[in-house]
């Protein structure tokens, strides 16, 4: 006859954790994940800059693609995203993409831009 189940339960306990769990729980991994708030801020900054560029082109101003302007945009965005090498790479690509998008969406085209494209 089996022991009463309450007596049986007192002979056991739930299993112990594997040794790896301590490391999983106590070491902050340096994996690259963009905090969502920073990603949203970066997207907003890009959108605002793009709108400003398009507006400037519509008003006949030249596309401000001077090296210093782009460098400043890259610096600001890289800093917002963490400031490391990977953040800078992403920022550089994003600003370049922004420039191409601004040219592509400029209403009627811009002679300065056309000349640069050639």
């Amino acid at each position: 006859m089996h022991e009463d189940v309450e007596v049986l339960l007192r002979k056991y306990r739930p299993v112990s954790p594997p040794a790896r769990l301590r490391d999983r729980c106590t070491i902050l991994r340096q994996t690259r994940t963009w905090p969502w708030a920073v990603a949203c801020a970066a997207a907003l900054a890009l959108a605002v800059t793009l709108q400003s560029l398009i507006q400037g082109l519509a008003e006949g101003r030249s596309l401000p693609t001077g090296t210093a302007t782009e460098r400043e945009a890259v610096d600001d965005l890289a800093e917002m995203l963490g400031g490391d090498a990977e953040a800078r790479r992403f920022a550089t690509l994003a600003v370049r993409e922004l420039r191409f998008m601004a040219k592509a969406t400029a209403p009627g085209g811009n002679p300065d831009v056309s000349r640069r494209e050639q």
Partner: protein
């Protein structure tokens, strides 16, 4: 509020794990009836602690951590998921000082019966039978009335007895 260096956070969290990690994992195993999922649940709780760079002061550490693991396990149960093959890993181990040998079949029957219980009943069984809490203390942890936890425990034990033909 001063943000501590990352290494300092990790050693604080390490102290919390060393103090409570094993019992939290055992609680999660019973709640989820799945050791692999329990590992993930406990990890989630401690990962959240590691991210709290500015403030790791906990009023009542044991209570806070148990509650966090409990909430994580109940949330996990509500998420749509596929049944993992790892859910058939052993749930129980014999206590070091268990005097009588028990058959593997007995342990398997007990584990199977525990898996079949609703999470709320496993919760009460774990806190009362495995952690030795009074039903009053269990009620406080579960946020339920003592009558509710007593009923859950009674129903759980009745179902476990049925599994053994008692």
């Amino acid at each position: 509020m001063r943000e501590r260096p990352r290494g300092e956070d990790e050693s604080l969290v390490g102290r919390l794990y060393d103090s409570y990690g094993v019992s939290l994992y055992r609680y999660a195993v019973m709640l989820l009836a799945d050791p692999a999922a329990a590992e993930d649940a406990v990890h989630q709780v401690f990962a959240a602690l590691l991210k709290r760079r500015a403030d790791l002061h906990l009023e009542n550490e044991a209570h806070y951590l148990r509650r966090a693991v409990r909430n994580e396990c109940y949330s996990f149960r509500r998420r749509p998921r596929t049944v993992s093959s790892q859910s058939e890993l052993a749930l129980l181990e014999l206590l070091p000082d268990a005097r009588h040998a028990v058959s593997p079949e007995e342990r398997l029957t007990l584990e199977q019966a525990l898996r079949a219980l609703p999470i709320e009943q496993r919760d009460v069984v774990h806190l009362h039978a495995f952690e030795g809490m009074t039903l009053q203390e269990v009620a406080a942890v579960c946020g339920e009335s003592i009558n509710t936890v007593a009923s859950r425990y009674r129903y759980a034990v009745a179902r476990l007895r049925e599994a053994f033909g008692q």
